[in-house]
Symmetry: C2
Subunit: 403 residues, 2 copies
């Protein structure tokens, strides 16, 4: 007997047929004698539909009421899944956020779970019941409904796994697991069997959207084993746990990419001490996240060019702040939002010499120009022209033996 938290995402519960399928998965787990808490998202499309309604009323819809609105989505799924299990002779019950309760702090649409009352649900689990809990929501100390932000169902699942001391938290989704790169783009992409929390964090922040980053962080902090697996196949998924439990036979675990970035270059900046601080301090104060920074000495040696990357949707805000900044003198600002970020991720990289060199050589062999570089212990990212992205992913996937 193990205690499991199973989380089912929006596509896994997108229709009544799929909810019936999820009920079968839970019934099978129960037949093995496992104690089950299921966390469910809103049915696929439902949250967007509710958001659409709120936007028809106002683009600036009141945040408290938006949480009341959106939380209805998971309530619907909870009831349908509980009803379906009962119909299949599995003892089950929906537990809404206020019935448990799940307590949160923080502002509406961005709250954090701080506590979950466990007595009633533990009693129910001990009486062989399956507890169905809505993801993504909780209540504040004032008794208002709060939401954790989109994708927050993963956060609920990990928090529930931690507080109920579950043996494992399984994230059911519409793909087989975490892949070495995007299987829709690169057919030879391979499912990763085991991955460390750190690698997963790098992959998910870089665009592998199977699990929310902050949920992985929480799991890492409390050492909760995760497994990402498909609702629709019986294949093994990807196990996510701490690095010391993994044997690294490969230096690189996966190749990730994103098209969210844009490159901004300030040409002819006066080259004197403090200029970088003068540029980046106002951006930081405006909550603009600057990723990579490169500084070149220009030909006249009195001025310099500074290149950096930001998220694409922050380009105009960034330019406005730069132009209104009287602390800096420069010739021109140019931008390029036709760029992409490609990253290789692997906890084995740090112990494998030459990974960096092999990446650069491989891109150069394909005539791909590197526009910016950033590194961490387990990640190496480059910015390239967007048109080269597919070529780059394919090449890197091959040379690091991931095909």
């Amino acid at each position: 007997m193990v205690k499991k938290v199973l989380k089912f995402g929006g596509t896994s519960v997108g229709t009544s047929e799929r909810i019936q399928h999820v009920a079968k998965i839970i019934k099978k787990e129960r037949s093995l004698g496992n104690k089950i808490i299921a966390i469910v998202s809103a049915m696929a499309g439902q949250t967007n539909e509710l958001l659409r309604l709120s936007k028809e009323i106002s683009e600036e819809f009141n945040k408290r009421e938006l949480d009341v609105l959106l939380s209805s989505g998971e309530q619907v799924t909870c009831a349908l899944l509980a009803g379906c299990l009962i119909n299949s002779n599995v003892k089950a019950k929906s537990w809404l956020n206020w019935q448990i309760p799940i307590l949160t702090v923080g502002e509406h649409s961005n709250a954090r779970i701080i506590n979950i009352h466990i007595e009633k649900i533990n009693k129910y689990l001990n009486e062989d019941g399956v507890a169905i809990i809505p993801g993504f929501q909780g209540i504040s100390k004032n008794g208002d409904i709060t939401s954790l932000g989109r994708g927050g169902s993963d956060a609920t699942a990990v928090a529930v796994a931690k507080i109920f001391n579950a043996d494992i938290c399984e994230i059911y989704t519409d793909v087989d697991g975490v892949f070495s790169t995007d299987p829709n783009k690169i057919p030879v992409a391979k499912k990763i069997d085991k991955i460390s929390y750190d690698e997963m964090l790098e992959l998910s922040s870089l665009g592998a959207k199977v699990i929310q980053s902050s949920a992985v962080q929480t799991a890492m902090m409390y050492d909760i084993p995760l497994e990402v697996k498909s609702t629709f196949t019986e294949r093994k998924g990807t196990k996510i746990f701490s690095q010391e439990n993994i044997d690294y036979t490969k230096s690189v675990t996966g190749v990730a990419y994103s098209k969210d970035d844009a490159k901004i270059t300030i040409i002819g900046v006066e080259d004197k001490p403090g200029v970088a601080a003068n540029i980046f301090e106002p951006l930081s104060k405006a909550q603009i996240n600057v990723d990579m920074v490169i500084q070149n000495i220009s030909s006249d040696q009195k001025t310099t060019d500074i290149t950096f990357t930001v998220k694409r949707d922050e380009v105009s805000k960034t330019k406005k702040i730069l132009k209104g900044n009287n602390e800096i003198i420069y010739k021109e600002i140019i931008e390029n939002d036709k760029v992409a970020k490609v990253s290789i991720v692997g906890a084995g990289m740090v112990s494998t010499p030459g990974v960096t060199y092999r990446m650069f050589r491989a891109l150069s062999d394909e005539d791909i120009n590197i526009l910016a570089i950033s590194t961490s212990e387990i990640k190496l990212s480059v910015i390239i022209e967007e048109e080269n992205i597919l070529k780059a992913i394919k090449k890197l996937h091959t040379i690091f033996d991931l095909d």
Copy 2:
């Protein structure tokens, strides 16, 4: 300053545009200085959509979970309306059933409100806030969500009006008020300005579907003035209050009809004491509601024919019970479900001689055969062939000066 409970039905809040319109009505009431509690239904179609999902899973969907499912509908409307009001600079807040709470007794999908905590909402009203409350739902003493059954939003509105001691309860709907007969069938149907609770009860149980009967009963019991009016026009609605406050200039207030009935005749029943009891006792025990009963002596004077009406959807159950009943001897059972019930309703009838006679004469003038008759102090109903229904309503509407 008056305290008002305003109830908005499903069509009144069926789209975001209509919710914006409802917000305007409430804003106007606030500008007059009135204290407002609004009760809302689920958006039109939403409850049916949720029911459809539950039926895809099971026709025998668990009742507790069905209430969790359906209650999400009103939650959505509450949030949208509250958000819309806040956006229009009206202080407003959604109060879900468990946040108030609204306490109920009775089984799922058929619960009754027994208490509503008033402190928090009264405080909020005194701070010039508009409280938005979901209709149709509450919580049980175990903390489970319960529903009052379909149309239960009217019941919520009247219960809130009573417990908060409101001056009036206004039922906003998609028609101008209560009509002297169905305006879709009879174009000369006229809106009734004032009607007594009793008359309204007879009209609504007979098919005038603007307000739920049990809500009218509660309003009558506690003498809460009601007004049924249109969300979409500025016309005056129909005021419903106690009989002593109404001057009756007309003997008949309205003509109602229904097509829910069927006529069953048992031919050649042995005519001896106790035969009627032997027939009707088993039907009553099986919860079959027998409406009108007629007994004729047959030509041989040893047997009799007994005719009665039941709801159409109970015909086969009724016949099965009759056929399995060994206490009675008869020749044959015949049924006719192509019948309709037409009723004239009016608190002035009792003091006006000849109403009965005039009704029978009018129908006879139109060659309409009366198949059964039943009467109460303020109502006179006849069963006729369904094909004659329109002709009958028109004629009665005219001769009782309702055109």
